[in-house]
Symmetry: C2
Subunit: 282 residues, 2 copies
């Protein structure tokens, strides 16, 4: 496995692989890898001989009061795990290699896609995501890039910007991977205290509650959200950030679920903010 | 010469040329071609076997009160001229091919580079430029792209975004081409009445005035700008938009010209806004 430190090295790796006739896949991560990431890497390996993983905790997507400083990091462990998963190149640039002095450019996806859901709680977050992902795609020039459905809004933003900017890459979104008790895998789960961890499966339970109601024929977004909300409100350590039903593609709020929709939620346990979501498809 | 209508066709042309071992150059234009454009095309031909010209009057870079509707257009003439200049592909997409329904993404270069000079008079202009140029570069995947120095601020913005987004393209900026009497070539010159046209060389005369003062040792930006301004104020039909001295790379205002700088000016003749500039290099 090659270790790449600059956008120029990443591009050289990618072009060399393509010159050998290999397809190139990119799996962008912020490191501290877990089974969710490995599922993305395995999907990438199905579609490409040369799988690149990027590891970059992107300061531009963290707000002032957020967890940039304490975001979990373990480079050596990530490196070993990537190697074990058959990754061909680990692109782990320093902040200065991504944002050199004088850096001034941003990429933004306007509308509910960036402004709603997590965008409302985390202003500027999706501008940071859109900018760094555009950079990673331009530097690594992958044939496909794989993202996780847990970050559903991020996936929607990236699909939109790739289409809008005519970036020559196929975006693949992989299903959510969960712990045995239903908690969606996330690097942030390590923040949870034992008591919080014990209650964190409430997110999945809330999604299941709403999905069951949907399966019984309920189509009013308000009622479906209420069902999820009621389940979360039974959870003493949970503080709801949002519970929303949105269009699955453009993320605009929906009132009646008559198109493929997404039930998305964000919940605080102490200072730790967890997200989860489920598709509701009529 | 091939006529290309969609980003997908543009990419297919570019990739086919590269597969033949040819370098690809892109010359982005808004059409109504003149000697200034031809100088860009000739420079492109020196660096690449496959020269693409894009022709797109980009609505996103025109403000509400600006000249989008009456911007001069003559597709048939442009097509013949491109063919005569040895252009291999003319990429002339419709507005819907560039901005399909649901389009939501923008690229922006922050700071004085976008906010100063023409950015102050034309809010949103450089966001429109940055977005469409990013799209053109991503769709056409050229090895090099050629822009004109007349639009110095545009060239600075594009250089910045190409560096910031890690776009794999070399940006070449070609010198200003002038009419015999000094007026910088521009598609907008056709708007000028005969009386305005007769006075329009005042822009170049103003630049020359300041350059001569600079050559005699003056380094104070205020004095240099005053010299240019005085020359413009002698011109009855000229209404000054701005006269400014800025850093040649980041376009921040300068007080003393002790680094390579740019004297940039914008002047209205009636409703027609002309721009011009000169490098002042100590």
């Amino acid at each position: 496995m090659e270790l790449l430190k600059t956008p120029a090295e990443a591009r050289a790796f990618s072009r060399a692989a393509k010159a050998r006739g290999e397809r190139v896949a990119l799996v962008p991560t912020m490191g501290y890898l877990h089974e969710g990431h490995f599922s993305l890497i395995r999907l990438a390996r199905q579609g490409a001989a040369a799988v690149m993983v990027s590891l970059f905790v992107n300061p531009a997507q963290f707000g002032p009061g957020e967890d940039l400083g304490r975001y979990p990091r373990d480079f050596e462990r990530d490196r070993v795990l990537c190697e074990r998963e058959g990754v061909k190149a680990l692109f782990a640039p320093d902040v200065l290699a991504v944002y050199p002095p004088g850096f001034s450019t941003s990429v933004e996806v306007a509308g509910p896609m960036s402004a709603g859901l997590c965008g409302a709680s985390r202003p500027g977050h999706f501008r940071g995501v859109a900018t760094v992902v555009t950079k990673l795609l331009c530097a690594c020039e992958p044939d496909l890039a794989v993202f996780g459905q847990k970050d559903a809004q991020q996936a929607a933003v990236i699909r939109r910007l790739v289409r809008d900017l005519d970036l020559p890459v196929e975006i693949v979104v992989a299903p959510i991977v969960r712990e045995a008790d239903g908690l969606a895998m996330s690097s942030r789960n390590v923040y949870l205290s034992p008591a919080e961890r014990a209650q964190a499966p409430a997110l999945k339970a809330a999604l299941d509650e709403a999905s069951a109601l949907f399966a019984r024929g309920e189509r009013r977004a308000k009622r479906l959200a209420e069902a999820a909300r009621a389940r979360l409100e039974m959870t003493p350590l949970a503080r709801i950030d949002y519970v929303e039903l949105v269009d699955a593609e453009n993320l605009a709020p929906v009132e009646i679920v008559d198109q493929p929709s997404l039930l998305a939620l964000a919940v605080f346990f102490g200072a730790t903010r967890l997200i989860d979501n489920a598709h509701l498809t009529p």
